[in-house]
């Protein structure tokens, strides 16, 4: 074998080896979580409140809490993110303003999530007096998801062929009509798949809701956005750090992890299905 072939051979096999390691990590990871948490998950676990200082019962309030936190944060962040992306792609003047907005977005994207938590505590909980509530938590999570949504939307809008925009303007449509009737409808499926990924992130974040929305334990379901709630990721944290019955709490924590991961996986799968269908239909 000559040198080139040896390089080729070792190179390819090195890549295979790395992929294998990644795959093994994923399998071990799934095994650890599911082998410990799988048995705990049952219908009662999903539909009942915790009992006896969280050593028995289920996690229903935490599921409900995470659901509302995620939905409301998306309702707040989606329009804001999409409008920002429209501004950046279509109006984007003057150049210095765009540059500042972009630097701001990229900085926001790199901020550790605990700092979002502190920010939410100061701004939403204290200054706006929303207190520890679904609203404060959703706003904080929304700010966290914003950079991801803006970037995904911007990419989706930019991938709309320039031809469509020119054709629309050449037919006498205004800039605004072109955005509303051509750019947005064409980009929307891609915007949605891009943002569904951020839903997974939002559902799983602990630090941002630590001081803004989550409560350690409540049997009550929230009656309004001003109530504090239990949430899945925080529930895991609480089970492992509070209370005195570790032997009973740890399995529940793994069970909660299984539920949280299942939720995120289902959402991601949904994104993949949507994207697959769009790619099949798309012809330009």
């Amino acid at each position: 074998m000559n040198r080139r072939k040896i390089f080729e051979f070792t190179g390819v096999n090195l890549l295979r080896f790395f992929i294998l390691i990644t795959g093994i990590f994923l399998l071990v990871f799934l095994y650890v979580i599911f082998s410990r948490g799988g048995k705990v998950v049952s219908w009662e676990f999903l539909t009942q409140a915790p009992r006896k200082y969280m050593t028995e019962g289920g996690i229903y309030p935490a599921i409900v809490g995470t659901f509302w936190l995620t939905v409301i944060s998306m309702l707040l962040a989606l329009p804001l993110g999409i409008f920002t992306a429209i501004f950046l792609t279509s109006y984007a003047k003057p150049a210095w303003l765009v540059r500042i907005v972009r630097v701001a977005i990229n900085t926001l994207a790199g901020v550790p999530s605990i700092i979002y938590g502190l920010f939410g505590l100061t701004v939403f909980v204290r200054i706006f007096h929303f207190d520890v509530s679904i609203l404060s938590g959703s706003l904080t999570l929304g700010v966290l998801a914003l950079p991801v949504i803006i970037n995904a939307s911007e990419e989706a809008l930019r991938s709309v062929p320039r031809d469509f925009r020119e054709a629309s303007l050449a037919l006498g449509a205004t800039e605004r009509q072109t955005i509303l009737r051509i750019l947005l409808p064409t980009a929307l499926p891609n915007i949605l798949t891009g943002t569904i990924i951020s839903i997974g992130r939002v559902a799983g974040e602990t630090a941002p809701i630590l001081f803004t929305a989550a409560t350690f334990y409540t049997r009550m379901l929230p009656s309004s956005v001003m109530d504090e709630v239990m949430a899945l990721p925080y529930h895991i944290y609480a089970l492992l750090t509070e209370g005195s019955h570790a032997e009973k709490q740890v399995p529940i924590a793994y069970g909660t992890a299984v539920v949280l991961m299942a939720m995120v996986l289902i959402i991601s799968a949904l994104a993949i299905v949507i994207r697959y269908n769009i790619r099949k239909k798309r012809k330009w």
Partner: protein, 252 residues
């Protein structure tokens, strides 16, 4: 032969940044005639075409001096309503570019952005598709995606879409360069038919095409309008040496 100029330029100059692309262009486009613009790549013919519906406005750092007169009004005058100009001056692009919508919605687009009434839209869409010789091919699938049509059909759809606005003039930017010979022939015939009702200005790389369909031809070279004449005359006895060289294939 006396003809009315439908659209014309007066000392039109255009710069992209530092780049002087169009130089003192004076050019008439006559009413209900086909005028062809020919010239080598990069001579500015497409840029000139896009001056007539102000599409160059989309390109940053574009500077324009001079006038473009549409029915006597300068479309670069400060108070011009650009959307109105673009309604009167339709455009068909090099690559067929239907919207990712149904056949019907593509043709109806210009009407619906101006808030035309539903029954009027139905009527005009049918008429426009008939005028673009597409009606018989698509009448049973008005609601299917425009992308299900062939390339040639898509380009005729784009022509129908422009016709639906009832324009005074249609600009065609190398409309057949992405099409097969049969589809090309059909579009050329269509141009000859359409000039009965609308003025046509076509940019083409294909000298033979200009010869086949145009009444007037403009030859452009390095941003200048070198020669403008009746096609017959220019193709038999070109006045300028550069025109002669281009027509005989010395460069291109």
């Amino acid at each position: 032969m006396v003809n009315k100029a439908h659209i014309s330029t007066e000392d039109l100059n255009l710069w992209f940044g530092e780049n002087h692309v169009l130089k003192d262009v004076n050019f008439p486009v006559y009413d209900k005639k086909v005028t062809a613009m020919i010239g080598p790549s990069g001579c500015g013919k497409s840029t000139l075409l896009r001056c007539f519906n102000r599409m160059n406005d989309l390109i940053p750092e574009t500077k324009i001096k001079g006038k473009v007169l549409l029915n006597g009004n300068n479309i670069y005058a400060p108070k011009t309503d650009i959307t109105e100009v673009r309604t009167k001056v339709g455009m068909v692009f090099q690559k067929p570019n239907p919207f990712p919508k149904s056949v019907f919605k593509n043709v109806a687009f210009g009407l619906s952005v101006r808030g035309e009434k539903k029954n009027k839209i139905d009527e005009i869409v049918e008429k426009s598709l008939r005028n673009a010789w597409l009606w018989d091919e698509v009448k049973d699938r008005l609601n299917s995606s425009a992308f299900s049509l062939s390339g040639g059909q898509q380009q005729r759809l784009c022509i129908a879409r422009a016709l639906a606005n009832d324009p005074d003039i249609i600009l065609l930017d190398e409309p057949t360069s992405a099409l097969d010979p049969q589809s090309t022939a059909k579009i050329e015939e269509l141009c000859l038919e359409l000039k009965k009702q609308v003025t046509i200005l076509i940019v083409t790389h294909n000298i033979a095409q200009a010869g086949r369909i145009s009444d007037y031809t403009a030859f452009m070279y390095l941003g200048e309008m070198v020669e403008f004449d009746e096609t017959q005359r220019m193709f038999t006895i070109p006045k300028d040496k550069r025109t002669e060289a281009y027509l005989s294939g010395v460069f291109g």
